[in-house]
Symmetry: C2
Subunit: 200 residues, 2 copies
């Protein structure tokens, strides 16, 4: 099919379960490619360099900023995160959609630079679930968890800038919502006018 690729930005507070949902989408929709971000934060257990993130040091990150190699970047809880530009452009040129897992500051930068990007905010239907999941994860100190919860509250206040809110109480339902959004966006009349032009 000749539907064009889309930029799909997915954000959500820590504990929203975004990563699991995104993995399901990537497994099930082969027209979507994951944009691997660069970050200065340390890898968590199981995370692989070049697949989950490009894990780089602050000096290299600064160089990418200086050389204009990043589509967006932001500082978030003591670390830098950014999106390398080149792979995004290569995938769009192939007609593939590119999915970005980025936080709200980065998402707003993408929206400014690419107004056609689709912004999706992932949350559980109850905020209390976020606190529960952050504690259950068991990787952060109590202080870090409280900081993440404060950050989550700020992020919620930015959610009105997003196009869609996906509810993640169950990862399969949430993945289905994201896939549905991608499909629906391709069906928008503005994206399919060429099928009318033959006749009108």
């Amino acid at each position: 099919m000749s539907d064009c690729g889309k930029l799909i930005v997915v954000s959500g507070p820590s504990g929203a379960g975004k990563s699991t949902v995104i993995s399901r989408v990537m497994e099930q929709d082969k027209s979507v490619v994951f944009s691997v971000s660069a970050t200065t934060r340390k890898p968590r257990e199981g995370e692989r360099d070049g697949a989950d993130y490009y894990f780089i040091d602050t000096e290299r990150f600064q160089k990418m900023i200086d050389n204009g190699e990043l589509l967006e970047y932001a500082r978030y809880v003591d670390n830098f995160y950014g999106t390398p530009k080149a792979p995004v452009e290569e995938n769009l040129a192939k007609g593939l959609s590119v999915l970005f897992d980025i936080e709200v500051q980065g998402a707003m930068q993408i929206r400014d630079k690419c107004p056609e990007a689709i912004l999706i905010f992932v949350i559980p239907s109850k905020f209390s679930e976020i606190e529960k999941r952050l504690h259950a994860r068991g990787t952060d100190s109590e202080e870090k968890i409280l900081q993440r919860i404060r950050t989550a509250r700020i992020e919620y206040s930015m959610a009105l800038n997003y196009d869609y809110i996906v509810l993640n109480d169950d990862p399969d339902t949430a993945a289905n919502e994201i896939k549905s959004i991608i499909t629906a966006e391709k069906c928008k009349t503005a994206n399919r006018q060429k099928y009318l032009s033959e006749v009108c």
Copy 2:
């Protein structure tokens, strides 16, 4: 789930294969109810009164217009078609979505009265397919087929007023597009603000 019901208007020229696609959607998504239209046209083979249409005479139709019992109505190729208002209101009150199979004039009336309605136009990816299908159907005279093709061209020129264009080269793919649109519309930020209000 407490997502609200939607009004989903599906139009498309004769030969677009709309009815088959709509049947698949209805089979697969039980949160959607089909709005049975009233019409003065004669039943086609296999069509059942009260399920496919309410088949009524012109006098009864005129009375429904006069009593304000129709949400919309239109004349189309010598016959009247209209949407009884009461069942729509009953289903929305139950939180169900209501799907309307109506032609472009009726769709524009629904949009005027219910600006939140979602308008979907179904077409094959090639116009030539419409002519092929109308001939293959074998139920209409050559003159009637030509009239339908002329009408189809006029309808195509109205498609830019729709929110979405669904391509029906294969009924399952088209049904999946419609289901995705319904899901995506429920995910729109404006429809899910309540999940933020707890926090913001």
